[in-house]
């Protein structure tokens, strides 16, 4: 992300003209970013230190009160745990499935575009549509999942997947995994193009089996991209909202409550604007160190590679 340092020495007139045009070209974007991003972000920090309910014209200043309350909120622990489950499974499953698919596709040329399109489409669908159709699949009586289970004699497993507190989180998670796997697959497939095939052939000659080849030869070479995907899903896992909100709204009996839905319901349903804002900020701050650390690691790896 470092801006390039251009060291050609242009004449002063040129440099002045460049600076003038540069400022003029950046100004409109900066106006948007300032008004609709930086200002509300700064305001979020201010809000989080108030006790604002959305109507009170002069809300009380409570300093770090909201954050202290967050630390002792008994509902927050389970929501946080759900985020952790979401992050771990929601990262591991698409990565494992996506990598397997990519390795499977690696040597396939014929119809490869068709497969890529079929597998990528779930990723570009709006979350609402995914939520609607998966709730049909999970339908207790007529849904495909239960029909399938009954047809192979596993009637005991059939349940109302989204209504049962024990299965709801997994059911929503499966929908999310379905939606993201295609993306992980396409990214990994394109990174496989850079894997040194000669090294792989050599390993095969030396008698390495396919699992060993993947682990010792392929994975190290695609590690930067691999870490990038982990970063993305991890950061996304902290701020997951859409699909949970759409499919269960955090229910049944808070079984699928995540930090995002909890912040939303506090702010917009319980009118605890400041409390919800404080939580949203905590979520952001939680995710950033992970993102930065993984990004560093990734960059160090790609640097080593290019040397």
């Amino acid at each position: 992300m470092n801006p390039p340092t251009r060291s050609h020495s242009a004449p002063r007139v040129t440099r002045r003209a460049q600076a003038r045009l540069g400022v003029a070209l950046v100004a409109p974007l900066l106006a948007f970013v300032t008004v609709f991003f930086l200002f509300p972000l700064g305001n979020a920090i201010y809000y989080s230190m108030l006790d604002y309910n959305g109507v009170d014209p002069s809300p009380a200043f409570v300093g770090l009160g909201n954050f202290v309350e967050l630390a002792t909120d008994p509902a927050l622990g389970p929501a946080f745990m759900n985020n952790i489950i979401w992050i771990v499974l929601g990262t591991a499953a698409p990565v494992v499935i996506g990598l397997s698919l990519a390795l499977l596709m690696w040597t396939v040329r014929r119809a490869s575009t068709l497969y890529r399109v079929a597998l990528f489409i779930p990723y570009i669908l709006p979350a609402v549509a995914a939520g609607v159709v998966w709730s049909w699949i999970y339908d207790p009586m007529r849904g495909w999942l239960n029909q399938l289970l009954r047809s192979v004699g596993l009637d005991a497993l059939a349940t109302g997947w989204l209504g049962n507190p024990n299965t709801a989180l997994c059911a929503v998670l499966v929908t999310a995994v379905w939606a993201t796997t295609g993306f992980v697959f396409v990214v990994l497939l394109s990174s496989l193009r850079n894997v040194d095939a000669e090294l792989l052939d050599a390993a095969r000659m030396d008698g390495a089996n396919s699992l060993q080849r993947v682990w010792y030869i392929v994975l190290p070479q695609i590690m930067p991209v691999f870490l990038m995907i982990v970063t993305l899903t991890l950061v996304g896992g902290f701020s997951v909202f859409d699909i949970v909100f759409i499919m269960t709204g955090g229910g049944p009996s808070n079984a699928t409550e995540v930090l995002g839905t909890y912040a939303y319901s506090n702010a917009f349903q319980l009118n605890r604007i400041s409390y919800g804002t404080a939580l949203a900020l905590v979520i952001t701050v939680l995710a950033i160190p992970f993102a930065v650390a993984l990004n560093r690691l990734q960059r160090r790896l790609s640097f080593q590679e290019s040397v």
Binding site: P3, Q18, G22, V26, L29, L38, A127, R142, V186, A280
Partner: protein, 283 residues
Amino acid sequence: MSISRIRLSPRQRATRASHHLLLVVLSLLSLFPVILILSTALKTEQDVKVNPFGLFSSFSFENIVQAWTVGEFGSHLLDSVLLTIPSTVLTVVLSTMAGYAFARLPFPGRNILFYAVVLGLLVPFFAYMIPLYFQLRTMGMLDTLVGTILVLSTTGLAFGAFFMRAFFSDLPDELEQAARIDGASEARIFAQVMLPLATPGIGTLTVFTFLQNWNNFLVPLLYLPSGEYRPLTTGLYLFVGGRSVDIGPLAAGALITILPVVLLFILLQRQVTEGFLSGAVKG
């Protein structure tokens, strides 16, 4: 690639066939939900009541007509277009201008400003959505198309500026220098020399931003509360909320919501994947 064998042994051929078989099965599994939407949307009214999820057991456009008129998906579609097109144009134009300046026009404070803009890649919308709601209310922009368009376009600017800056940085210096020696002004170098070279990047960014805006759920949910304007995403969501609703029109509504996205992707799949790839690899 070392895999350019001319003749395959029977064993290799069998492996390859099994790969294809597996990929076909997985592709169908991946597409199954889309097929289910299509199938239910195209059923007759009676069939939906008896057998809503059986695949392609009847055929009619009744549900689509119902969704379009009674379900107001026609007007949702219009609102989606009215929100998505202007915000996409705004994001792409502003990002292209700023991306060029960030890449090739040194001016004081450039780096710090660039970091302030790409901070948006790190901070989820989530973090500032609540204060933004009250800010829009104060500005008189809550529940207006204009306000929502401005917010939507801003959510794309961090990535857009980042992407276009990377694109302009990769362009060669020679043409720019030559034009300068010929006495072209800086504005002319941008508009007539560099901008045409950036068309592939602009195309990718446009398709990518369009999809993001079309699929956006939270922005219209929060900032268009009254329902006077309602795009497809929140329209479909609130349609589900009304429990009395039949599955048939719901499926048709879902179909209307996903159809533009799926068609766009099939037509421009290279640009779309490229956009998402560069978003991932460089972000």
